[in-house]
């Protein structure tokens, strides 16, 4: 049994006088301990809303969450506020995109880190501070004793993100959700943070949910990848299989449209037409069909269902791209 099991998760935003928005619709995925699962998609695809729903961080007013989120055998949806609070920070933690706004600017870093441990692990202030120091050291912050007394504005972006990861790890959570953890950072700093996350998963057996728009980050980090479009998972596969032979036209389109370091220069990119705003509702047909180069008439008339197309491989498409199984094999050489 996987550590985190999400089944048919749906999040709807209900506002008075406005049409209901289905931000996430029927999302299911598993995250086993010690594995990294990616949620990939563009702005508005529902990847961040999914993570907030799993963490129980969506505002209670105006949102309807349905489905099931099971962490280590316990159903989380429907828990009381206190129960959520007890689990957040101890059993599951989250790292956000913007490290500056995620830290409290008026409280020294050390207090912020040790506070979590005092609350969830019942440590004394003195023990917690010592633990915080070793945590900062662990995430690669030089001179941690001095840093503990500093405020968030005194740290660089990379240091702040490390501090946030330290806070998220303070109670040795079994599930870590990282929402675009490196998007605000420079490439060389991104490389540092990603290698830190990689080490953590390997050493502590934490389950990691990595949310990103960057396919390059996914390729280097995730064991399994879920591609989201307009609130639904359109393709799910092992990363090797996904990148070697994407079957959903959206996944393929994403891969073809990004310039890469290793493709011949001057080759014209093949972009996906339109923008994410050009969707049709899933209730009518495939949301991607207006932008899809291989759309059939049926795509705009009937909503495609999820099908299992291989071991651990799911697809939601009426007209998937052909796959060459041999190609998938040969790429492993």
């Amino acid at each position: 049994m996987a550590l985190l099991e999400v089944r048919d998760l749906a999040v709807r935003f209900v506002r008075r006088g406005e049409p209901t928005v289905a931000a996430v619709d029927g999302v299911s995925f598993d995250v086993p301990a010690g594995r990294t699962v990616g949620l990939v998609g563009e702005s508005g695809c529902g990847k961040s809303v999914t993570s907030l729903a799993v963490m129980g961080l969506l505002p209670r007013d105006g949102t309807e969450v349905s489905g099931s989120v099971v962490l280590d055998g316990t159903e989380l949806l429907g828990l009381s506020r206190r129960e959520w609070d007890r689990r957040r920070g101890s059993e599951m933690s989250m790292v956000f995109q913007d490290p500056l706004t995620s830290l409290n600017p008026v409280v020294p870093l050390g207090i912020q880190v040790s506070e979590v441990m005092e609350r969830h692990r019942g440590m004394s202030r003195r023990v917690a501070t010592r633990e915080a120091e070793s945590l900062l050291d662990r995430v690669g912050i030089p001179d941690p004793r001095r840093r503990l007394r500093e405020y968030s504005h005194q740290l660089s972006g990379g240091m702040r993100q490390r501090a946030l990861i330290a806070m998220a790890l303070a109670c040795r959570p079994r599930l870590l959700i990282a929402d675009e953890p490196t998007t605000a950072l420079d490439v060389t700093i991104q490389a540092q943070i990603l290698s830190l996350l990689r080490e953590l998963v390997a050493e502590t057996g934490t389950a990691l949910v990595l949310i990103t728009h960057d396919l390059g980050v996914v390729a280097g980090m995730c064991d399994e990848v879920n591609v989201l479009y307009a609130g639904r998972i359109v393709e799910c596969a092992d990363r090797h299989a996904l990148f070697a032979a994407p079957r959903h036209p959206y996944t393929a389109g994403l891969l073809e449209s990004v310039p890469r370091l290793d493709t011949p220069r001057g080759q014209r990119l093949a972009p996906i037409a339109g923008s994410v705003e050009d969707n049709i509702p899933w209730s009518v047909g495939c949301a991607f069909s207006p932008r899809c180069a291989s759309a059939l008439p049926v795509c705009s008339e009937r909503s495609p269902a999820v099908e299992t197309v291989g071991p651990g491989r799911l697809l939601r498409c009426h007209n998937p791209l052909d796959t060459d199984v041999g190609n998938t094999e040969s790429s492993h050489d």
Binding site: R268, A273, G274, D278, P290, R291, A293
Partner: protein, 312 residues
């Protein structure tokens, strides 16, 4: 056909079919669309409209001349008696036997006029200072802002009283000047801040990069975008102006001539009768509060509507 060109064509069709690109809704229009549905705005606007209408037609509505002591025979200094409500005088009379309702009605004109004139003057002065400081920057900015800071450091009512006291003769004009002077630094500081934010914004840089003349950059790109918060502030300041003007009149810095009534002045002259005849203070004070509330509601809902973060 190449897949690229096919996709390109699809894109054009898509763009063509997007309804928003042909609608052309400006910022002001979309703000107005949101305002229209906002109950806060509707209540506030309703209050203001009602009082503005009242002020306009008050000469017709007022049954009596507010300066005439029609009920003087019912006033008695000795046993502290003033005219009670009676047929033809729904609110009775004041301490001189003048008709209270008619005084309130005519007073609305004066009060709104004073507040409006003062705010317009204050806005004008503030805009000038703000544009100077925001558009030129450098030492002009430093100089203007130090003056503004000094003015802002004095409590506004104290400043207004001091300015009012400078004049030899107390008149309505004194009140207007005093209230306007208090408002100038508020508007100036605000506009300077928003202008500086615009100066640093990409679209102003873009206009410069295009080679748009500097004057055009300031008046076409910076000022219109910087005005939003100032408009909101002006609405809120109208409420403050009404209260400040009333306070000055109450303190006796307004017009000494009581034949043309004004709410603040009515409130001031009612202070001797607070314990025995609270209605003399209640009516003008109530009117001041309700009108000020109306402007505040409109101001707050404008602020919300113009907030670019809430734009859709």
């Amino acid at each position: 056909m190449l897949p690229g060109t096919r996709r390109g064509r699809r894109l054009d069709e898509l763009a063509e079919s997007t309804p928003t690109t042909t609608a052309g809704v400006s910022l002001a229009a979309s703000a107005w669309r949101r305002l229209r549905r906002n109950p806060t705005f509707l209540v506030g606007a309703g209050i203001i409209a009602a009082f503005a209408l009242l002020a306009l037609v008050s000469p017709l509505l007022a049954a009596h001349d507010p300066a005439l002591r029609l009920l003087e025979d019912q006033v008695s200094r000795a046993d502290n008696r003033i005219p009670a409500p009676q047929p033809g005088f729904p609110l009775g009379g004041d301490q001189y036997g003048r008709p209270l309702l008619s005084r309130l009605l005519i007073g609305s004109q004066q009060t709104l006029l004073v507040a409006l004139t003062a705010t317009v003057l204050g806005l004008g002065g503030g805009l000038t200072l703000g544009i100077l400081a925001g558009a030129f920057g450098g030492w002009v900015d430093t100089l203007v802002m130090r003056v503004v800071d000094v003015l802002l450091s004095v409590p506004s009512l104290l400043l207004a009283v001091s300015i009012g006291a400078l004049f030899q003769q107390q008149s309505r004009f004194t009140v207007i000047i005093a209230v306007a002077t208090v408002q100038i630094p508020v508007f100036g500081r605000l506009l300077r801040g928003t202008m500086l934010a615009q100066r640093a914004s990409d679209h102003v840089l873009a206009a410069r990069a295009l080679g748009v003349p500097e004057r055009s950059v300031v008046f076409r790109h910076m000022l219109p975008n910087a005005l939003g918060p100032v408009v909101v502030q002006a609405t809120l300041m109208l409420a403050v102006a009404i209260i400040d003007a009333a306070a000055l009149s109450f303190l006796g810095l307004g017009s000494a001539d009581t034949s043309t009534p004004e709410w603040g002045q009515m409130l001031g002259s009612a202070q001797d009768f607070f314990d025995t005849h609270p209605q003399l203070a209640f009516w003008p004070a109530g009117c001041i509060i309700v009108v000020a509330l109306g402007f505040t509601l409109v101001g707050e809902s404008l602020r919300e509507a113009l907030d670019p973060k809430k734009r859709r």
